[in-house]
């Protein structure tokens, strides 16, 4: 058990607690009886295919859209108490949300003017390390620079929950890597305010990119949560077995959840099967998140 899991949010309650969340758009269920509990200090990856309900879930958490069911974020109802909640929650969506006409210096002034927990000095220090010019407008900046600007604003806010929705979409690989490094170093690890541990929820298509920083992983598909596990428990639950043709039948008898063939070998994925038993059949290891994601979501079909 990770000790951070025990630490609660306000008055010991979790940062996010969702019970039976339902959200329908016409005939489709974007959220189908979702139950969630995220403790303080976690870095949670919310992973799912397009249209799985990730963004809907984040929108509900941020109070951007109403949904049915019971949802508390930092003890508040996000939809009806959004303005108050946003004092302690920061949000970065893909880079396109910064208004194009906004000047960099005005952006800092504005956030400083309306946000009681914004530290202007911090934002300035952060921006000084980038090539973002103060008198430039957002539309004159590259995508990577817009993200840096948004990140600078967000990093300077003493928030308890940071929500990132595809924050690196459309960025080149250098910016993407720098983004997560900064996130960990500046926001999560070197945080002076030890009063409350910070929590991050992140969604992305680039699973490999965030794999190493997550403490928890949540898979979502068709509006339902298919997996919700601390990353250190992944090894206990899941095993990837590389097996050659002669032991394949034996391995299949142990009911893999997914299987796919590579050059000359079969990769079988098992859930809750004793790893020692599998090791006798071939090479075992803990599957990466991307493989596990495919395994969980393809529902046992052979790809």
């Amino acid at each position: 058990m990770n000790p951070a899991n025990e630490i609660g949010g306000i008055n010991g309650s979790p940062v996010i607690e969702a019970r039976e969340l339902v959200k329908t758009y016409g005939a489709t269920r974007a959220l189908d009886h979702v139950n969630l509990r995220i403790g303080a200090g976690r870095i949670v990856g919310l992973i799912g295919p397009n249209g799985a309900g990730k963004t809907t879930a984040l929108k509900s958490i941020l109070g951007l859209a109403p949904c049915e069911g019971e949802l508390r974020v930092l003890g508040l109802n996000p939809y009806s108490e959004r303005a108050r909640l946003m004092q302690e929650v920061c949000f970065i969506a893909d880079v396109a949300v910064m208004p194009r006409w906004l000047k960099v210096s005005d952006a800092i002034d504005f956030v400083a003017g309306v946000h009681p927990r914004f530290n202007r000095k911090r934002a300035e220090e952060f921006l000084a390390k980038t090539e973002v010019r103060r008198n430039a407008r957002v539309k004159q900046l590259s995508k990577g620079m817009v993200t840096q600007l948004h990140l600078a604003l967000v990093m300077a806010i003493d928030a308890r929950l940071l929500v990132l929705d595809e924050p690196t979409l459309g960025l080149d690989i250098i910016y993407r890597k720098r983004f997560y490094d900064t996130l960990l170093n500046d926001y999560f690890v070197n945080e002076e305010s030890t009063e409350q541990p910070r929590t991050i929820i992140v969604t992305t298509h680039q699973v490999e990119e965030i794999e190493h920083i997550l403490t928890d992983v949540i898979f979502i598909a068709h509006g339902r949560i298919v997996l919700d596990l601390p990353t250190e428990k992944l090894a206990d639950r899941f095993t990837q077995l590389a097996v050659s043709g002669d032991r394949l039948a034996e391995a299949r008898a142990l009911k893999p959840i997914h299987e796919h063939e590579t050059i000359g070998r079969h990769l079988l994925y098992f859930e809750d099967v004793d790893r020692k038993r599998l090791a006798a059949l071939g090479d075992v290891r803990t599957p990466g998140l991307a493989d596990l994601f495919v395994a969980k979501l393809s529902g046992g079909r052979v790809v």
């Binding site: 929108k59 303005a83 946003m86 004092q87 920061c90 949000f91 949300v97 003017g113 309306v114």
Partner: protein, 296 residues
């Protein structure tokens, strides 16, 4: 309060037309006066000083009108675009990630369109009128009478400025339902708020005309546009002021424009209060739209 100040500033960063449009209006009037195409030098000896004094009075009274008309268009475009535009470019996600309530944001936009924009128009009109007439006072010196330098009359400037300020204040309440309608449309329109804002009233008018041959809707619209002028002003009051001076002599009808200010009939008219009630309802709808509709 501090938040509200920043919300207002942000509107001016985004919609610079609110400031630029009245400045352009002032420049156009100045150029018009310079070339004599708007305000005639009027050197026709047949023009009596009395007649020119009437023209001068007319100019002083209505000098702000072009500013208000321009402001009307600017405000309509501004209000219709304000909530729709941030949905369209998705910047609403940025704004709503800050601890600012939707009520404060929508109220700031209404305040900008309905209070600040016309105040700015009135202010720029009030500054540019004496500047323009002062510039022409010398220009026409030694010539026959001209209406323009005759406007050079500081007490009149003051009276006119107060009159416009009063008109602006009345306009805030009178046009509340109009402004709130455009904001509500901006908040809810799936696309093209300009069509959504203007077509339904026009369609209602046309349908009523076709089916019943009457034009109740049309009368409502036209009385909302100009009905307040006869309710809030009493221009029949004359003979109370010093009038205009030409070469030291009083000429024309002596009026004190401040006497035209008469809010009694307006305050007693149900139109004002029904309009305010409808406006508040539409404002509420606009706030709900800002909360509910995050996608364009």
């Amino acid at each position: 309060m501090k938040t509200f100040f920043w919300l207002l500033r942000r509107e001016f960063w985004e919609h610079r037309a609110i400031l630029i449009a009245p400045l352009i209006t002032a420049v156009v009037i100045l150029l018009g006066a310079l070339t004599g195409s708007i305000i005639q030098p009027a050197q026709d000896p047949a023009n009596s000083p009395e007649k020119l004094a009437d023209v001068a009075l007319f100019l002083t009274t209505w000098f702000a009108l072009p500013f208000f008309i321009v402001n009307g268009f600017v405000a309509i475009f501004y209000l219709m675009d304000s909530l729709y535009g941030e949905r369209k470019d998705r910047s609403v996600l940025f704004w709503r990630s800050l601890p600012v309530s939707d009520t404060a944001t929508v109220s700031a936009k209404l305040t900008t369109g309905l209070v600040l924009a016309p105040c700015l128009a009135a202010l720029i009109a009030a500054i540019s009128m004496p500047l323009i007439t002062f510039a022409f006072k010398g220009h026409f010196a030694g010539q026959q009478f001209s209406a323009l330098p005759m406007m050079w009359n500081p007490p009149h400037f003051f009276e006119a400025a107060v009159l416009w300020l009063y008109a602006t204040a009345v306009g805030v309440f009178w046009f509340l339902p109009v402004g709130a309608w455009f904001l509500a449309v901006s908040a809810w329109a799936p696309k093209n708020p300009f069509l959504w804002g203007l077509v339904p009233p026009g369609a209602l008018y046309a349908v009523e005309k076709m089916l019943r041959g009457s034009s109740w809707v049309g009368e409502q619209i036209s009385s909302r546009l100009e009905g307040w002028l006869s309710l809030a002003f009493n221009t029949g009051v004359v003979g109370t002021g010093p009038g205009l001076k030409v070469e030291g002599k009083h000429v024309g009808v002596p009026v004190n424009m401040l006497d035209w200010i008469d809010p009694q009939p307006l305050l007693a008219s149900p139109q004002l209060w029904i309009g305010i009630a409808v406006g508040l309802l539409l404002l509420f709808l606009a706030i709900q739209g800002r909360r509910y509709r995050t996608d364009a």
